[in-house]
């Protein structure tokens, strides 16, 4: 099967407010799909609809060919979910929790092996209320895997975690993908999406404003690659008429946008010929985060303008 998740014209309204305002996307089986957006953009609502925890107002959603709300029981046997801020019974240990889920799903996971996979083996016998935030998320991850899920939903799994804990979760996500599972990852850490995701969709105000691979989004919405020098503004003045390329000055740095790779050599020889002192030359490229900030910012500006009375 090609697509694990299919969403067509999905709408969720709370009273007059449309939290999700008609979105479409598909997630191919065996890939990591990252759903990005600022807080309140509609990420969690969409995710919960796909998990069968919330009923949609309009549109079609299919996860593994099932309707998440109507076929929730069948779907839940085949998906794994880690919500934001995973909570569990305070006095229960990770090992007991995995045995519990194993009994509920009628699977027979080896708790120690599963905890090893999420790097929580050393806390197998510690009660939930003694675990740190990162350890709690790892336990949630382990529980989500007790039923050997085909699709894993991770809703901001690394929010609030320290860098080591975040990397541990990233490793698990990479492993999940290598095992052929589909991963639906919402996050507001753009670097996380850039590192892990095959496909990205950016949602804002309930609408999808960009989709594609991280590189596709960057090249479609980002600025071109740039050469950067630490130098006085005089260098910019010198380069502008020589190169016919956009040259900008900011924070004591001169940046020249490159239209293609060969431009780099022309820029370097012009800088050399200028005789103006410079140091620390580097190339720079928009990250997904730069693109995200620009896209969301543009949309908010547009929204503000349209809200201004005529």
């Amino acid at each position: 099967m090609a697509d694990a998740i299919e969403v067509e014209h999905l709408v969720k309204r709370y009273g007059d407010l449309a939290a999700v305002a008609g979105i479409d996307f598909k997630v191919r089986t065996g890939t990591v799909f990252s759903f990005l957006g600022p807080n309140g953009a509609g990420k969690t609502t969409t995710t919960e609809i796909l998990e069968g925890l919330r009923r949609r107002t309009e549109g079609t959603t299919r996860v593994l060919g099932l309707d998440p709300w109507d076929d929730a029981t069948a779907l839940h046997r085949r998906i794994g979910v880690i919500p934001q801020d995973f909570r569990f019974f305070d006095k229960i240990t990770p090992r007991e929790a995995i045995r519990y889920y194993g009994a509920l799903f009628h699977t027979n996971p080896d708790p120690d092996e599963l905890l090893e996979r999420v790097k929580l083996a050393d806390k197998a016998g510690a009660r939930f209320d003694t675990l740190s935030g990162g350890q709690k998320q790892k336990m949630g991850l382990a529980l989500a895997l007790t039923n050997d899920p085909e699709v894993c939903f991770l809703d901001e799994p690394t929010t609030g975690l320290d860098p080591t804990a975040r990397r541990a979760i990233w490793d698990v996500i990479r492993t999940l993908k290598s095992e052929g599972r589909t991963v639906f990852l919402t996050t507001h850490y753009l670097e996380e999406a850039e590192l892990l995701a095959d496909q990205v969709a950016i949602i804002h105000h309930g609408r999808i404003i960009a989709t594609g691979t991280p590189n596709e989004i960057i090249s479609a919405h980002g600025r071109p690659e740039r050469l950067r020098f630490q130098a006085s503004p005089a260098l910019a003045e010198y380069l502008r008429p020589k190169l016919a390329l956009p040259v900008t000055v900011a924070d004591g740095r001169v940046e020249v946008e490159l239209h293609d790779k060969a431009d780099a050599l022309r820029v370097l020889s012009a800088v050399d010929a200028s005789g103006i002192p410079w140091q620390n030359f580097s190339t720079t490229q928009d990250t997904l985060e730069d693109v995200f900030v620009r896209l969301v910012g543009q949309m908010d500006d547009g929204a503000l303008k349209s809200e201004t009375p005529a």
């Binding site: 919330r54 009923r55 305070d90 006095k91 007991e96 519990y100 509920l104």
Partner: protein
């Protein structure tokens, strides 16, 4: 419903409970405290021994000593002797918080044998009606016996006392079914209301909704746990009542239906109250509104038959009344027919509340 899933959830519930010291205290130690506390308060009032402060101005004369010995033989009088001035006697009684005093006058012995009229003086406190009544009747009956003896008479009419019913029940006997009922009500009500609202707020129900566990299975495992707990608590309370106060109660299989139906009813009711509430705070409020009237008016601490008629009618609409009345019928009166009616009322109510709880308690948001 899958027994394997109920068993798995049951295990989690038991572990969570046993690892919670507060919960353990309330289920294992608190019942003993309750029995001891209420047993002490009310058994003291039931077995009255009236202390009488005695001033014998007829120092150790034969008649006065005999009079006081006879008074002591009534067993419900305890005498203590003082050497106060006769004129200060009443004031000293008040100062010592003694409510009953007796003065044997000087010359009591000589007057008695001379068959001259002589009065002993009994001081009583009208505010302590029970003690003064008992003292009056004891002193009066000893005086009558002295008069009969002095006139060489014989008592012709005697009074033989019989209790109403086949057996006499002391307060502690009523207290045991009452307090078992109290814990059948409070233990699940307070914790289920809290669980229902806090698990929803914390997202634990969402977690569980993503597993094959159903709401009915989840509720069933909690009911089974509270049933087990009720058997333990009832055992502790009966044991404490018998050991500490010598209670007389029948422990028969007839008790089992109440220990089963009671938790079924109140776990479901707690869940229902917690589910209809929007926030943990309003859940606690709804829980209290349901629990408190039942806690006091269903025959827990006081027999419903002692209430004014209007309050008795109110008690009859409280489901806990039927749990406690039924246990009274089994443990005290061996009245099977009435116990059966009670258990039927409890079971039917419990099934209805269970179904309502399942209906209103939602894992997922619409």
């Amino acid at each position: 419903m899958r027994p394997a899933r109920i068993a798995a959830d049951f295990k989690i519930v038991v572990r969570s409970y046993l690892r919670n010291p507060v919960a353990l205290f309330f289920s294992l130690i608190f019942p003993i405290i309750l029995i001891a506390l209420f047993g002490l308060i009310f058994s003291a009032a039931g077995s009255t021994v009236v202390p009488i402060t005695v001033l014998n101005l007829d120092h150790n004369s034969e008649a006065s000593v005999q009079f006081l010995a006879d008074l002591n033989d009534t067993t419900y009088i305890r005498l203590s002797f003082v050497n106060w001035n006769a004129s200060d006697f009443a004031a000293n009684l008040g100062a010592n918080d003694d409510s009953v005093g007796l003065v044997i006058p000087q010359g009591f012995n000589s007057s008695y044998f001379a068959r001259d009229q002589v009065n002993v003086t009994l001081y009583t406190d009208p505010e302590d009606g029970a003690a003064s009544g008992a003292a009056q009747s004891a002193v009066g009956s000893v005086a009558t016996a002295f008069n009969l003896h002095a006139s060489n008479g014989t008592a012709i009419v005697g009074v033989a006392q019989q209790n109403v019913g086949s057996q006499v029940y002391s307060y502690i006997d009523y207290l045991i079914p009452g307090l078992i009922g109290f814990s059948i009500l409070t233990s699940p009500m307070f914790s289920m209301v809290d669980v229902a609202s806090s698990y929803r707020k914390e997202g634990i129900f969402r977690e569980l909704s993503l597993t094959p566990l159903t709401r009915a299975e989840w509720l069933t495992s909690h009911i089974l746990w509270y049933m087990s707990l009720t058997f333990v608590t009832a055992g502790i309370m009966i044991g404490a009542g018998v050991v500490l106060f010598g209670a007389h109660v029948n422990v028969t299989v007839g008790l089992i239906p109440f220990l089963v139906a009671g938790p079924l009813l109140f776990v479901s009711l707690g869940m229902l109250a917690g589910s209809v509430a929007k926030t943990p705070e309003s859940a606690a409020l709804i829980g209290n509104i349901i629990t408190f009237p039942m806690m006091f008016l269903s025959g827990t601490f006081f027999q419903v038959s002692m209430f004014p008629p209007a309050l008795q009618s109110f008690a009859h609409i409280l489901p806990l009344y039927y749990v406690i009345d039924g246990m009274n019928q089994v443990m005290l009166f061996s009245n099977t027919a009435r116990a059966l009616t009670d258990v039927l009322v409890v079971f039917v109510t419990a099934i209805i509340v269970f179904l309502l709880a399942i209906r209103f308690f939602q894992w997922r948001d619409e």
